[in-house]
């Protein structure tokens, strides 16, 4: 062997196969967790139902096709490569709603985003997907409010309000990119959406919890790369 050379994988070959395997597996775990900016492997409290996951993937795929945007997550869950962006790591995040306070004609939905992502990423786009079941053949007004905590964090203030006209059963989407970006900017990790329908009969209903059409937010984010000086 050339004198004085220490190459990365050399030490490995001299070890027993079982030791080699243990070291490689430990390296693989450490490498994946560090690249995903995770302190440890996540403990999954409630996994999303496969039906809801596949429905969301299909819906996003259809939306991407409509807007001729990037090929998002396909319906079969296989993973096409994201546009290779010069080694910049991009993420697509699916956040399913957690139901909050509700009345007979309004409901609050919460969407959580992890602190790892909130700190180091910029939101490229974020879309709220709502599936409405409309009993009657007429147009129903729905008010969608995006809420955010006030400076004390004790109360919620309305960041924006939009009127949706729901005419038939199916998906409705709303661009929430700016709201999610401003939440990330404030270090908050939760987006709260309040939906309000008219009090009269036959108002549109949201697909029920546990249903495969449960509301979700699909966001595209890009890791902020540490500023690097390239010298040639």
């Amino acid at each position: 062997a050339p004198k004085g050379v220490w190459c990365p994988a050399w030490g490995l070959e001299a070890l027993a196969p079982t030791t080699q395997r243990d070291i490689l597996i430990a390296l693989a775990k450490q490498s994946i967790l560090s690249k995903l900016r995770l302190p440890d492997r996540p403990n999954i409290t409630q996994a999303t139902s496969r039906a809801a996951l596949l429905t969301a993937l299909r819906r996003m795929r259809a939306q991407h096709m409509d807007t001729a945007g990037s090929p998002g997550m396909p319906h079969d869950g296989s993973i096409p490569h994201l546009r290779p962006g010069m080694g910049v790591q991009e993420y697509e995040i699916l956040s399913f709603a957690e139901s909050g306070f509700s009345t007979s004609h309004s409901v609050r939905l919460h969407f959580h985003f992890t602190r790892e992502l909130a700190g180091n990423t910029e939101i490229l786009q974020a879309t709220l997907y709502l599936f409405w079941v409309v009993p009657g053949p007429r147009t129903h007004p729905v008010t969608v409010r995006l809420l955010q905590p006030d400076p004390t964090g004790l109360n919620m203030t309305v960041a924006s309000e939009t009127q949706l006209e729901v005419q038939r059963t199916g998906w409705a989407t709303l661009d929430v990119g700016r709201a999610v970006q401003s939440l990330f900017g404030q270090g908050s990790q939760m987006l709260t959406v309040e939906l309000e329908v008219a009090e009269d009969w036959g108002s549109p209903l949201l697909a029920g919890h546990g249903d495969s059409h449960w509301p979700f937010v699909a966001a595209q984010a890009r890791a902020r790369m540490p500023h690097r000086v390239q010298r040639r």
Partner: protein
């Protein structure tokens, strides 16, 4: 690049597959089922250093000329990745969100001598 086979001692790519089910990660990584954590190993004798096609460049050619004329000026050489590709993951994060990302340069496709 060359894949390691038998007891080859020259610079080559060694395959190593980490099965996520075997390490108990299949509950939070939805896809794929494992990670091809290939790595480079083996010797890079001086006559192999910087052979065209193996991490070659103009500087390597100049270096070879120096080596050919003056063995003492020869520098050391290591077996390193010359071609890599991203690892695509679909996984649950701590809030049970589903995240898809491509981690760049995670899978070694070819090795060569510096």
């Amino acid at each position: 690049g060359v894949d390691c086979s038998g007891d080859s001692r020259m610079c080559c790519r060694k395959e190593f597959f980490v099965d996520f089910k075997e390490i108990g990660w299949e509950d939070w990584i939805i896809q794929p089922e494992g990670y091809h954590m290939n790595y480079c190993t083996g010797l890079c004798p001086l006559h192999m250093a910087g052979i065209p096609g193996l991490a070659a460049s103009f500087h390597t050619a100049v270096l070879n000329l120096i080596k050919a004329n003056n063995a003492d000026a020869a520098v050391d050489s290591c077996c390193v990745p010359t071609q890599r590709r991203p690892l695509s993951l679909l996984y649950y994060d701590q809030d049970s969100n589903i995240v898809k990302t491509d981690i760049p340069d995670m899978i070694v496709d070819a090795c060569g001598c510096t």
